[in-house]
Symmetry: C2
Subunit: 193 residues, 2 copies
DNA sequence: AGCATTAAGGACTGATTGGTCCAGAATTCA
DNA sequence: TGAATTCTGGACCAATCAGTCCTTAATGCT
């Protein structure tokens, strides 16, 4: 019936994610986005309404992608001890930094930035972090050592670990010395013993 | 010899801190700052050169003020057990949120934001966080339980705790449910037992 | 083939950005 | 009191911001 789109929206959102991830929400200008996504203003606004809506799409995409990868790891039955899954999650985060990725976690940066003022963004951030927290909780139940803790204490521990995760990834973005992150991860690992 | 300044630079920096604290670096516009500081463009640029320089002054001020308050608590000999000092630090952070302060920690927000691109800002942030980490380390030595840990493990724990602190305050800014923060603090307290 | 419909491209807009500049006010010293 | 000096206020600036709109291109259906 009419001219079809010449780009894949999903792929465009992924490219937008890269731009937002490195520049942040406010730091990513429209030219930055158009450039990174490889399309023009007309197409972007037709497909994604406006910058904020695009960012919410990106947060969703990030949640489907990065967060789900974490959740998959944390609930992976192929790793029998849940504590090992958690150790692996943190080790992965450290390894990313050691390999030069200083972008941190998109959700965590969004948390520190515009979520303060925008309810929708705050909700999306909270949703993603909560999903991760719940997955940590599942992993703890799969840890013999922690399965027998009182429920309340175990849930508290999951909340502590998600905060730890946010902190680590935020410090990565602040370019703190990598050894500090390594030490912190080592300490988390010890605490899970 | 000439007309004197009609404002106190220190006080102006403090007011600027409030603006940056709530709006973030990029989110604080010059009109916002002029408004909050109660002076005009001419005065601001004469006294503080430009926005970034002002922000660095603010980060310094924040470090002298908020960070030093934390350091003072963590090294307070009136609280004999260092672990109690750390518990108090985290409890204070939670209490701020419970009382409606959702601004988090200025350093932590700066970490997630512009520090990614500006070396000076990144250095200032890292400096402040490191000061806090060192104070945590001092507190751990003042804790009978932790004083006898191997040095390495204790230093690792200090790095973990500073990451925990950053995470908590970042999550506060993301307006995560306060109970999650409470739980996390409770868990930290338990881990220090 | 031609019509209807939608996407693409990009010129354009008004608002806002951080920053400059200068005229006039205020102060000190002589 | 007058000269020298510095600060204040705000008009002004170019650049950039997010967002609009219209022309042209491309496609599917008949």
């Amino acid at each position: 019936m009419a001219r079809p789109r010449s780009f894949e929206p999903e792929a465009a959102v992924e490219k937008a994610m890269q731009v937002f991830w490195t520049h942040g929400y406010e730091g990513a200008s429209l030219p930055d986005l158009l450039d990174g996504m490889g399309l023009t203003r007309g197409s972007l606004y037709k497909a994604f309404t406006d910058k904020k809506t695009l960012f919410l799409r990106v947060l969703n995409f990030y949640e489907d992608r990065a967060v789900q990868a974490g959740v998959a790891l944390l609930t992976d039955p192929a790793i029998p001890d849940g504590a090992d899954r958690i150790r692996m999650l943190f080790t992965n985060a450290y390894r990313a930094v050691a390999q030069g990725d200083q972008r941190g976690c998109l959700l965590c940066s969004a948390a520190a930035g515009p979520s303060m003022y925008d309810d929708d963004i705050a909700a999306a951030v909270a949703h993603g972090l909560t999903a991760m927290r719940d997955a940590i909780s599942v992993a703890l139940i799969a840890s013999p050592k922690h399965a027998q803790m009182p429920d309340e204490a175990r849930l508290d521990l999951a909340d502590m670990l998600i905060a730890q995760y946010v902190g680590l990834r935020t410090m990565a973005r602040a370019r703190m010395p990598a050894e500090i992150l390594r030490n912190a991860v080592r300490s988390v690992s010890a605490i899970l013993d």
